[in-house]
Amino acid sequence: MGHHILVVEDSPTMRQLLHFTLKRLKGVEVLEAGDGVEGYKVLTSNKVDLIVADLNMPVMDGLKMISMIKGNPAYREIPIVVVTTEGGEEDRKKAMALGANAYITKPIQTSQLLSVVKGLLNIG
């Protein structure tokens, strides 16, 4: 059975790079959203196994979306990988404290992202 990964990112360039990278994993389907609100909507209407989210987004930022997801018992267990330009330790701590499972800074190394996702989804 395949895995469904939701990419929540406002930059179409970055969204395409993430989509392109994640599709390299066998059996992975990628869903996309441009901001936190859209991301949450996609999550509630689809089966999602993992979320890759940016922090700086319009309408609803990544931190707010993470706290909403982790605050809902139905989605609490879904792992979240943050992919952001924010390289400060404070930002990392905030995201991890809210329940993010991994924190990757941009520009990303596709191999690093794949290795983190594989680890969280338990796939070889």
Binding site: T13, M14, Q16, F20, T85, K106, T110
Partner: protein, 282 residues
């Protein structure tokens, strides 16, 4: 008295006989023990001789065929072990090579994915502002710049004017003439400028970028991307950045040029349509 003496003598004699008998028994036992010792001694001598012969035979190595067979087998196994160790080292080396190649391939994949996405996005629209937005996204997300500006050459004034910026206001970047400073020189020569050792960022100086990438269509420079500061997690430019700069130099310029031409032709088309409508009204 004499009777008593006779009685005593008789008793002594009996006693003497009893003791003699006792001694005799002891001597007999001693003799038997000596015989046993002699036999054991003989047996041990025989055993020693046997062992000495065996030792000699072992030393010669030819005496026992089983030992010879075992020796042959040991040598064979030693050879096999050496061969396996040699093979193991070979495989280990091969593994190292494969691991290094895997890392290389992954890096190449990363580069190609970035270039593909950047190129795809640059040519995905003919809207001038969208093209600028895409160039900015590439510089932020794929290169990892925090402060930068896109300057385009005004054909009339022959000045490079900032048309988009991140981390700084457009007004903070004055118009620059080709040949003037790092940015102007990059525009005039048409060559990338990359600062070799990037020190800590102190204050924004519009004339001192850490990278200046001319946007060129063939040999004609239409603008420059000036980068002033990288994201805090990024210390230097990488090989991928150089590839992206090369791509941006050509593709971004083409995308900007196409978008400008398109909007100009759209504008002219609507003007002509207006004219035609006016002329055909009567």
């Amino acid at each position: 008295m004499a009777r008593d003496n006779l009685k005593n003598k008789k008793g002594d004699t009996e006693n003497l006989f009893a003791r003699a008998e006792e001694f005799l028994q002891i001597f007999k036992k001693g003799a038997e023990f000596t015989q046993e010792l002699l036999k054991e001694n003989e047996r041990l001598r025989f055993r020693i001789l046997k062992l000495q012969e065996e030792v000699k035979a072992l030393k010669k190595g030819a005496a026992n065929p089983d030992v010879e067979e075992l020796r042959r087998r040991v040598k064979e196994l030693e050879r096999e072990k050496e061969e396996l160790l040699r093979r193991f080292k070979e495989v280990e080396e091969e593994n190292k090579d494969f691991a290094a190649k895997y890392v290389e391939v992954e890096e190449e994949n990363n580069t190609l994915a970035n270039l593909y996405v950047a190129s795809y996005q640059l040519h995905s629209t003919l809207d001038f502002h969208e093209v600028l937005q895409i160039i900015m996204e590439i510089i932020i997300n794929l290169i990892g710049a925090e402060i930068f500006a896109i300057l385009l050459l005004d054909e009339k004034t022959r000045k490079l004017n900032a048309v988009a910026a991140e981390g700084v206001e457009l007004e903070d970047i004055p118009p620059i003439s080709p040949g003037e400073g790092i940015i102007g020189e990059a525009a005039e020569k048409g060559e990338n400028y990359l600062c070799q050792s990037i020190g800590p960022f102190r204050i924004f100086d519009p004339e001192k970028p850490i990278a200046a990438i001319p946007l060129k269509i063939k040999d004609k420079t239409i603008g420059v991307i000036a980068i002033y500061k990288l994201l805090q997690q990024k210390e230097r430019f990488t090989d991928l950045d150089r590839e992206l700069f090369t791509l941006l130099a050509g593709h971004a310029a083409t995308a900007i040029f196409s978008a400008r031409l398109y909007s100009e032709s759209e504008r002219k088309l609507s003007t002509f349509q207006g004219f035609i409508e006016l002329l055909t009204k009567d």
